[in-house]
Amino acid sequence: MDSTELLSAISLIYLASWFAYVISSTTRSLWMGRVASLIMWAGWAGNGAGFFLRWMESHQMGHGRIPLTNQYESMVLFAWATASVYLLLELRYRNRIIGAFVAFIPFLSLGLGSLLFDTTIRPLVPALQSNWLTAHVITCFLGYAAFAASFGVSLLYMVRQRLDPEGRMAKVLPSEDLLDHLNYRAIATGFPFLSLGIITGAIWADVAWGTYWSWDPKETWSLITWLIYAAFLHARLSRGWRGKRAAVLSVIGFAATLFTYFGVNFLLSGLHSYA
């Protein structure tokens, strides 16, 4: 089995874990919740194995390089990073209901990546032959993954708000305060990573092209995303924006993240044509 086949299979495992999270949170079955976590961990391990297998395969082909260089590979990484961030949240806050709102993201990322994009392992073009590649891509995607988690948490917050506070569901869900806090924590984690991703990208651009900032669409959209989350942090820390307003800003921020990640590549043209 090669890494591409393994990773396609893993996307189905993520799907299974999402189903299990949804079932466990609607039926309040602890047993089902444990199964969901177990499947998620299996998916996470398989996702990582696929990543390293692909790395090894590239070495066997004689032009070894870390698999972070095209749309497909970035989606494998995005799935893995989102699963990692989610599992950390679950370990720390001992709550599986968030899984129902986050676990579909690694499934979609890995599934769509395998279906829609070229999975061939190609060697590195000269522009990508740089040590900054690893630092830039990994920091960006840790940021994206944290924003994905904040998006899932904000969705859950909005759902919770619409529920009858005395109802059965509302009692199982994490409190509004905790969700609001998690939203903030995820963004406060993602923001420094996005900043680091933009800075490492600027350093790399300066080394490769002699300009650290050229208002390329990808750069510009990463700045727009950065501005939205900066607005979130300022509004919250200095003005106490919480709850619904924070959740809405977080959803807008994630929409900008997705546009930076996908929209720019397919709708706008620029220098950043790898992924």
Binding site: T189, I203, T220, L237
Partner: protein, 451 residues
């Protein structure tokens, strides 16, 4: 007070308001979006075709065809700088003062203002509780300062004060990036030069203005190499360069993508490459007499008749156009004054211009390397600024300024106990810490009833 002073104060206050922060973020984001939706810095003709003449004229006038260098965009960035300075100057003294003020014992007034307060009763006396805690967790206990007011014992602790400075550090960093970028914009140089293999240059074309700027030394490209992987993906672009001053070879180096070379205050970057040619044409009228030989390179203009009346311009060279071999794009003025351009192929191609027939008799190809040249005196300030942003973020997001107050007041048969806390962020974590602390007290001091 003079009305004038209050006016400036309110302007100053407005310049430092959070509303302005959010407005600036929104405007910058909006302008940036516009700049990615409307293609930037394209030829006028392209805008006319896309948007029509009215919209194009409006776009040009507002500066939407070059948003990021327009006056209004720079104005917003300037306002951001003023805003950052105003915010720091206005808030720093208060933050500094509050960091320097020692923590006061818990008073009734303070108790009301604190976000986390827990009150409970213990059966043990004050001394017993303190001894038990000191015995079981000496390191934790040593973080608290003790203060006795009458019979009541106050335990005070605070940590992570430095995290309050994180925001100021990060904002200094943003300021550094903007200042560094401005210095680069005002005093830096960006240019591009094509060097044919085996040739040297000392003039570089400035980007934007098109001015030819002397470097003060010569750069020679001895060879240009391209290598590929077996599947055809390019592997390496490399120019073997020699930097010469007053005829002396000062530096030799291989210029590759991601491996710039510095010389004489400039940085050089491998940017592109191409193939050009020295083409020999033969011009003849009515197949009579010996043909006239003309040698041209791309960009050259030359007459093809002895009288110098028929002038052609060599626009472009293609090494293999449409699979039909080498071809040259030539332009000339028709008799009615209209310019016309057309491809002439070396293989069985002939152009007829003004009664003269023109054909390519010889092609001598050479490769050229395209090199980006820059000088940026502000770039190090940008990197220092980026470093400060990251250090500031780490301070602000990893550290928590947290203060804990414990008040132990002797009661009739036991101790009245308060634990209160405040923090600049992470109230959830602080709450949890207070809960844990209270549990520890109850374990050691035996809880009687909830207050």
């Amino acid at each position: 007070m003079h009305p004038r002073k209050t006016e400036t104060q309110s302007l100053w206050g407005r310049l430092a308001s959070l509303r302005l922060t959010l407005a600036l973020f929104l405007i910058l984001a909006g302008a940036s979006i516009l700049g990615t939706l409307i293609p930037q810095n394209r030829p006028f003709q392209e805008y006319l075709e896309m948007y029509g003449s009215v919209a194009t004229r409006i776009f040009k006038w507002v500066g939407l065809t070059d948003v990021y260098h327009s006056l209004w965009f720079m104005g917003i960035l300037g306002l951001l700088v003023v805003h950052l300075v105003a915010c720091s100057l206005q808030r720093l003294p208060a933050t500094w003062k509050s960091l320097r003020t020692p923590q006061r014992p818990l008073s009734d007034g303070l108790l009301k203002s604190l976000p986390v307060v827990k009150r409970f009763e213990l059966e043990a006396g004050v001394e017993e509780v303190v001894e038990a805690l000191r015995g079981s967790a000496p390191r934790f206990f040593s973080r608290f300062k003790q203060e006795k007011i009458g019979e009541t014992l106050h335990l005070l602790s605070q940590g992570g004060r430095w995290s309050r400075m994180g925001a100021y550090v990060a904002h200094m960093g943003v300021l550094g990036v903007l200042v560094g970028a401005t210095i680069g914009f005002a005093f830096g140089f960006k240019g591009f030069v094509q060097i044919p293999e085996g040739k040297s240059v000392e003039l570089v074309e400035e980007r934007g203005s098109g001015k030819m700027v002397p470097l003060g030394f010569q750069v020679k490209c001895e060879r240009f190499h391209v290598s590929s992987y077996p599947d055809g993906t390019p592997r390496e672009y490399r120019s073997d360069l020699v930097f010469m001053k007053d005829g002396r070879r000062e530096l030799e180096g291989a210029l590759r993508v991601n491996h710039p070379i510095s010389f004489g205050g400039y940085q050089f970057y491998q940017a592109s490459y191409g193939i050009s040619a020295r083409v020999t044409f033969e011009a003849q009228k009515d197949s009579a007499g010996p043909p006239l030989k003309i040698i041209m390179e791309p960009g050259d203009t030359s007459a093809i008749d002895p009288q110098g009346q028929i002038v052609v311009r060599f626009l472009r060279y293609e090494t293999d156009l449409q699979g039909r071999g080498p071809a040259v794009l030539l332009a000339h003025l028709r008799q009615d004054g209209h310019p016309v351009a057309g491809w002439v192929f070396q293989r069985d191609g002939k152009a007829t211009i003004g009664g003269w027939s023109l054909k390519i008799s010889h092609v001598e190809e050479h490769r050229w390397t395209g090199i980006q040249v820059k000088r940026d005196p502000g770039v190090w300030i940008v990197w220092v600024g980026c470093g400060l942003i990251m250090v500031g973020c780490a301070m602000a997001f990893l550290g928590v300024h947290r203060r804990i107050w414990i008040k132990l007041e002797p009661g009739k048969d036991g101790t009245h106990c308060w634990i209160a806390a405040s923090s600049n962020r992470d109230i959830e974590g602080t709450k949890r810490q207070v809960e844990m602390l209270a549990e520890e007290f109850v374990k050691k001091g035996v809880r009687k009833s909830r207050g």
